[in-house]
Symmetry: C2
Subunit: 307 residues, 2 copies
């Protein structure tokens, strides 16, 4: 799946740092290796790409045109890696100066990492010591319970309306969308649209019974004659893969398939007379605003970045 010519993350990081600093030595210092090691890493990248990435002169190293291309591509990889980093850091339960966050699955998977990165860089810029986030991902009911009990200072839930006993603020919207593989007959229809009736009569790829997305879908089709699932899988990732491989249509969170739609691995099908929006709320206990500090920063960011 991944070719043999793709450098590892640390090498890509070194490349962009070299691009920024203009020097192998200082870049090496920044990522914590020796100048010689950095030079060697860059040289192996040269051979991976098949062309030199750097103009190495006696007073610094500048990018070649090829290098500049690769830097741009690498930056996107590293952006995603930053979000992964934020997520992993939040999962590791470092218990000094931390903020406990509870979030529903969709939010934890697709939105929260970028918010964490944003708050983190904001803190860096202001010179504030970094907060360690701890993340629990579970269903929306559980999230509400954790916030109510004080286990988490702030929570993020999805659903028709936020829990009554907690304060809330709207931070985004999600929607279930129906997707198929590009080779699926529905994708060839000029309108890329089918009726609710057709959808209900078609075997779908679904999550296991009881999962949030499946419940929403079943409720929306409740008054129609429905058919058996084509395939029942236990993770969103598995459903995405199965649909892309042609196993049949599925309904998934718009956020979950954003990349696949953009890359053309999946095709969105509109359903006449069916919309499945879900509101995403931040929730907390107590005052009109979340507790001052990282919790409030996070909610503020989430609420404003959706604009």
């Amino acid at each position: 799946m991944l070719g043999p010519h793709v450098p590892e993350l640390r090498a890509l990081e070194l490349l962009v740092v070299v691009a920024r600093t203009g020097s192998l030595s200082s870049a090496a210092a920044e990522v914590g290796i020796s100048q010689q090691a950095a030079s060697s890493r860059m040289r192996t990248m040269d051979s991976l790409v098949g062309a030199p990435l750097l103009d190495r002169t006696r007073r610094g190293s500048a990018l070649t045109p090829t290098g500049e291309l690769v830097v741009q591509w690498a930056s996107r990889v590293l952006d995603a890696a930053d979000q992964l980093d934020a997520g992993i850091t939040a999962l590791r339960q470092d218990r000094r100066g931390h903020l406990d966050i509870a979030a529903s699955l969709t939010i934890a998977e697709y939105l929260l990492p970028s918010w964490l990165v944003a708050v983190r860089t904001q803190q860096q810029r202001l010179g504030v010591p970094a907060t360690e986030f701890m993340l629990t991902a579970t269903n929306s009911e559980q999230v509400a319970a954790m916030v109510a009990s004080g286990e988490a200072q702030v929570g993020f839930v999805e659903g028709p309306e936020p829990p009554r006993d907690l304060r809330n603020r709207l931070v985004g919207v999600d929607e279930l969308v129906v997707v198929v593989a590009p080779s699926h007959p529905w994708a060839s229809r000029p309108s890329r649209r089918v009726s609710v009736h057709t959808l209900a009569a078609t075997p779908l790829v679904v999550r296991e019974a009881g999962s949030g997305t499946r419940t929403v879908l079943e409720r929306a089709l409740a008054d129609r004659p429905t058919t058996e699932p084509a395939l029942e899988l236990s993770s969103t990732a598995a459903v995405r893969s199965a649909v892309a491989a042609g196993a049949g249509p599925a309904a998934l969170s718009a956020h979950a398939v954003y990349d696949d739609l953009a890359a053309g691995r999946l095709v969105r099908i509109a359903i006449t007379g069916l919309e499945l929006p879900r509101l995403l709320h931040a929730v907390w206990k107590g005052g009109a605003h979340p507790p001052a500090g990282p919790a409030r920063d996070l909610v503020d960011w989430a609420a404003t970045s959706q604009a």
Copy 2:
């Protein structure tokens, strides 16, 4: 910049393959390592994250809830890595069964990789042998010359209008946008808007004289009294970093700053009475359509994916 808990790309790839196949052994076979090596890699990932990613049973391995989160985050990294892979593959000059592409910088950097990935997966799905793409990134004039001379079968150019002597098709639009750091005074204005006059009077971070984006900008401000640049840098990446660090405003391609805007590292400022759109065209020589085969597939994809 990148934390110590982020696995390398190959490890992430293994994780998502395990998630898809449901088995360590078959995943190991797919990525070309032994089952034991795969098991060990996954175990080091466990310790990086601080929690097990897999439920390892005697008849397969399924994701834990934590594992599912990490898979989603990792998928985004790998999506970007796929585009990097496509780009690098196109740069490596493998000369068997290839398509020569010439593209202007903006397109080569931001759009082309995803198109290449799309065409590649399309070929895989149809069982067609994969084309080796060869990419030359240069300015739009050069691109037109290469296509005219036959050095490249297809080209992608930006500019007010495509070259007369070539056939063309619109594949997208780009725009120069003005961005500042979130800490910049302009970002605090409620309107996030300044006048052309203010912009012209403000020292900007710019590319070196002669670069495409700088030329467009200077031409647009030609009839205004302008000031000296705040900083002159030789790559788009350097400009982005400098602006994010607070060196001043800059005008950059909308595609170049898409991620930074989404992540909040940069803030877009509207300029009253100034718009700098650029049309992106595919160009080729000869008939009304590009030559059948990969060239046509690529252009078709590019033209339709912009919708």
